[in-house]
Amino acid sequence: MSNFLSATIGRKVFMSLTGLFLILFLTLHLSLNLFLIFDDSGILFNQAANFMATNPMIKIMEPILALGFIIHIIWATWITLINMRARPQGYASGDQLLKWWAPSKNMFILGGMILVFLVLHIFNFWVKLKITGDPLLAKATGTAAEMHNTYALVSNLFINFPLYDLLYVIAGILVGLHITHGFWSAFQTIGLSNIKWMKRLKFLANLIGVIFAVGFSAIPIYFLLKF
């Protein structure tokens, strides 16, 4: 087992499994976020946010999710450093085979940019919800139970700070690009692919990538245009 963990394939299996787990998380995240668009009163979104904040299963998953992110990031750095060492001297004529922008060639850079956004994102919402609090959170209406007005926090950011809208749209696109390679690549790494399924998985990867990019970007754009 010890040599499995240190072998290149072992390291990649960690990337693959944490990556797929994070895609599952993002699917849930996007589904709940779409309440922001489909209910302007904010009641549905507030209820969803309240469910996520109070449900015991979600509470258990929260540290696991954090661990998933941490492993994915640390392992990516580790693997990238080892892979760079495998070619001590580069090519003067570069690589003309794959385009410079191909997501598969830029997974670490895309991931790094997403990480920068993730820190910003956590400061925008999670820190205010869980630690510092915010005056906007205080007055949730339309429901019987006491809950944070998360909708107000989100809509305020997207309506009043166009720069944030731009950053969130860019981040949505980056996540989409990251997944167009990451999704099928994860299956390839754990051996769940073959000549037929590779095409299907690549198609699914592109589809999920587009759904995530469009879905996440649509939310700030909606608030910017509507209000």
Partner: protein
């Protein structure tokens, strides 16, 4: 129709006297090169010119010159085996180049393939990977009747596709991680699909994988550059099989 003549081309080649020497690029001018020439014929003409001028000729690997031995290498203008698809360098023709063009010729840049001289690299690392597990047991004694071992056409085709690997190293040379995974996958896959390969199946992928890591090749990130560079168009689907074989063996451990 006669082939066109390139009046003048410039060849920028990596020159390195020995494995430890510091290399550098040198640019040579060649005149009257027929587009019908193969790339290696152009290199021969260049070497002839160098020898006549009292200079050291460029050392490069070549043998069969018909695309099956896997000896020739060369990274030409940002492409392993040059700017053509499904060919080795010896099958590349000068019609892929233009009048007055500067052609950059580099050795495979892979840590595990040290430069021996100029653009010639030591690919012993591939032999070592092969020796670690790329073989089957064959019993001595009478020859069994071929019809007793039934193999489906699909399996035979897929094994043969993998067996087309000539071990040239273009996959590792073009991979941004200098990974030997496509080579490894081909060598594991050609046996994994056949009954004859089952005897060592449990240890083959594990042993070859361990050897690849030990030799300092990078890991696969599934960019797919290798299958584009591969002169035999070996699919990266074989890499999924390699991973499957490896994980199956490891889980059973």
């Amino acid at each position: 129709m006669a082939d066109k003549i390139l009046n003048k081309i410039y060849v920028k080649v990596w020159r390195q006297n020995n494995p430890t020497a510091k290399g550098r690029f040198e640019t040579y001018t060649l005149e009257n090169i027929s587009q019908g020439n193969s790339f290696l014929e152009m290199m021969d003409i260049l070497n002839d010119q160098l020898i006549r001028g009292g200079k050291d000729p460029i050392a490069f690997d070549h043998d069969c010159r018909e695309g099956i031995c896997g000896s020739c290498s060369l990274y030409i203008n940002g492409h392993a085996h040059g700017p053509d698809t499904m060919v080795t360098t010896c099958q590349l023709h000068m019609r892929k180049f233009n009048e007055g063009q500067t052609i950059t010729v580099e050795p495979w840049r892979v840590g595990a393939f040290p430069v021996i001289k100029d653009v010639m690299v030591d690919r012993t690392a591939f032999e070592k990977i092969q020796q670690a597990g790329g073989f089957i047991s064959v019993n001595t004694g009478g020859v069994p009747d071929g019809n007793t071992i039934a193999i489906s056409q699909d399996d035979a085709e897929e094994a043969m596709d993998a067996a087309a690997c000539i071990g040239c190293g273009a996959c590792a040379a073009t991979c941004k991680n200098s990974s030997a995974m496509l080579f490894l996958a081909a060598k594991v896959s050609q046996f994994a699909k056949l009954p004859q390969g089952q005897v060592e199946a449990k240890r083959r992928a594990v042993a070859m994988y361990a050897k690849m890591d030990e030799l300092g090749f990078g890991g696969c990130t599934n960019t797919g550059a290798c299958e584009l560079a591969c002169p035999k168009s070996i699919s990266i689907a074989h890499i999924a099989r390699l991973n499957r074989e490896y994980l199956k063996a490891k889980i059973a451990d």
